[in-house]
Structures are given as structure tokens and as C-alpha cells.
């Protein structure tokens, strides 16, 4: 099993190979030449039945997964980078709908990358959460 990602098909294959991403139901696709991550709504991901709302941990896990795959995609690397820290701000509750995520590599040195993440539902300009993470590369 290789994690060399050169195409979006490779990215989808890598995502499929991550058990936790499959547990959540994560999908990824190309949008304007960049990876777009999608978490189709599943009742299993609900963490508040009264609102109802997607579990905050699911949003965090979805974003952490997106960052890892985006980093491999951007570097055409073969290894899954190790997470150093992760910090998430919850801005709105995420309703029972599909969730989307995009990543931006803010800085990437030889050893550490800083990634900015955003998750939204209907409007990318109204994120439900933003996050920042550091990864150790290779």
C-alpha cells in the first residue's frame, strides 16, 4: 500500500485506506485544482439530538483527516505526517447536513507544517469551525 499522491484519484484512494475516515464517511473531490473534503450527513455523527448537531469531535476529526491528506497531496509525499497539536474554534452549531472542509498550508518548512482549516455547511463564508494544526513532516 502506497501513499504516493499525484492525482485526485490517488487522494481518494488514500482517504479510503484510512479506517477512521471511513468510519466517519469522509469523501474527497477536486474543486478548482484543490482538494475539497466532504462529510455527507450521517445520523451516526450526531452529538446533540435536540438541536440536532454534529458532534464537535467529528468536526475536529474530519478536519484533522483533511489536513493530513492535503499535506500528502501538496507534497507528493509518501508518509502520513504526525500531528503535533490541533486547536479548533467552534463558531456555529453544525446541523444535520453535509459538511465541507478546505485546508491552507500557511507555512511548510523542512520539518514542520502549519495548516489552517475551515469547515462549513451552506456557505464557505459562514464556517461552523476553523482550526489550526502543526504537523511533523517525514
Amino acid at each position: 500500500m502506497s501513499f504516493a499522491i499525484n492525482t485526485f484519484a490517488d487522494l481518494q484512494a488514500a482517504n479510503t485506506a484510512v479506517p477512521y475516515a471511513q468510519f466517519l464517511g469522509v469523501e474527497c473531490r477536486e474543486e478548482q485544482g484543490e482538494p475539497l473534503f466532504v462529510l455527507p450527513y450521517r445520523e451516526q455523527n450526531i452529538g446533540n439530538t435536540l438541536l440536532p448537531a454534529i458532534h464537535g469531535g467529528v468536526i475536529g476529526g474530519f478536519l484533522e483527516n483533511a489536513a493530513v491528506l492535503h499535506l500528502i497531496w501538496a507534497r507528493e509525499a509518501q508518509e502520513i505526517p504526525k500531528i503535533i497539536d490541533f486547536s479548533i474554534d467552534y463558531l456555529r452549531s453544525a446541523g444535520p447536513q453535509d459538511l465541507f472542509a478546505r485546508c491552507e498550508i500557511v507555512r511548510q518548512g523542512k520539518r514542520v507544517a502549519n495548516v489552517l482549516l475551515s469547515a462549513w455547511q451552506e456557505d464557505p463564508a459562514r464556517p461552523v469551525a476553523t482550526a489550526r494544526a502543526h504537523y511533523l513532516l517525514a
Binding site: 500500500m1 450526531i46 452529538g47 446533540n48 435536540l50 454534529i54 464537535g56 469531535g57 467529528v58 475536529g60
Partner: protein
């Protein structure tokens, strides 16, 4: 339920919150269990499943399960101090990943609500597998309290 969590502020209320909280669809899917609770503190355990793996080559646990466990344990720690239904919403959560999480072992989270104000709850957590002295991760989170009785919703 274990008698070990009797010192919580309102045992009958806390039992209701735990029962409903662990039955929430995602918590149920993870199989989260309460191991201990006392005034301001909870220990939750996430039994291992192959689904938690984040790296199929090394079988290291995915950070997402750490995040979900910390968020849930922190919220429950707040309810050990409450006596009436209310909702708490996570404002932010920060996790430092100190060691790799290993496959085939359960993951524990000891969470503490170390400051509760009329509007905000501050929590900190240690996540470990074999020994709390060698944690996998450390987390801090803040939550907003809401008087609206949506309580038990999480």
C-alpha cells in the same frame, strides 16, 4: 453504574446526563463508557476498534478519536458540578499530541472542570492508554453554558 461517582453534585441528575450523553448517536457508535466520576472530574474510556486507526501502515490511532473523547469527557466533567438541566457548547478545544496512540489498547480520558463561572466552563484533560504518567495527549477546552433547558442534548 459504579458507585465511584457518588460525590458528584447531583447523583441522580448526573446519572441521567451520562445515560443520555453516552447514548447520543456518535458516542454510542464509538462505544464510550464512563469509568469514574467525582466532583468536577470524569474518566471516560474508548475501547479499541480497528476503525480508530489513522495510519493503516503503522496502525497509529487517528487524532480524531482523541478529539472526540476529549470533547465528550470535558463536557461530562462540567455536569458533575451541575444540578439542573442546561446545555453546554464547546467554544474551543486545543490538543497537544505527546505520544503516538497505539492500536489494540483502550484510550482513557481523565477530564477536569477546574473553573466554572455563571457563563463559562474551563476544562483540562489527560488522555492515556497504559499509564496516566505517559499520556498520549493533553487537552484544554472551554464551553459556553446556556440556561435554556436543552439539557442532556449532549
Amino acid at each position: 453504574m459504579e458507585p465511584g461517582w457518588l460525590p458528584v453534585a447531583a447523583p441522580a441528575f448526573f446519572e441521567q446526563v451520562v445515560t443520555r450523553g453516552l447514548a447520543l448517536p456518535h458516542c454510542h457508535a464509538l462505544g464510550l463508557q464512563l469509568q469514574a466520576a467525582s466532583h468536577g472530574k470524569t474518566t471516560l474510556v474508548l475501547p479499541f476498534k480497528p476503525d480508530w486507526v489513522g495510519n493503516p501502515l503503522t496502525r497509529v490511532l487517528h487524532g480524531g478519536v482523541v478529539t472526540t473523547l476529549a470533547d465528550s469527557a470535558g463536557a461530562l466533567a462540567i455536569y458533575t458540578l451541575l444540578t439542573e438541566p442546561e446545555s453546554v457548547a464547546t467554544l474551543d478545544l486545543r490538543i497537544d499530541y505527546l505520544r503516538l496512540g497505539l492500536a489494540d489498547l483502550p484510550l482513557y480520558c481523565q477530564a477536569e472542570c477546574y473553573r466554572l463561572t455563571s457563563q463559562i466552563a474551563f476544562t483540562r484533560s489527560i488522555l492515556y492508554q497504559q499509564n496516566p504518567d505517559t499520556p498520549v495527549a493533553q487537552a484544554v477546552a472551554t464551553y459556553m453554558r446556556s440556561a435554556a433547558p436543552k439539557g442532556g442534548g449532549r
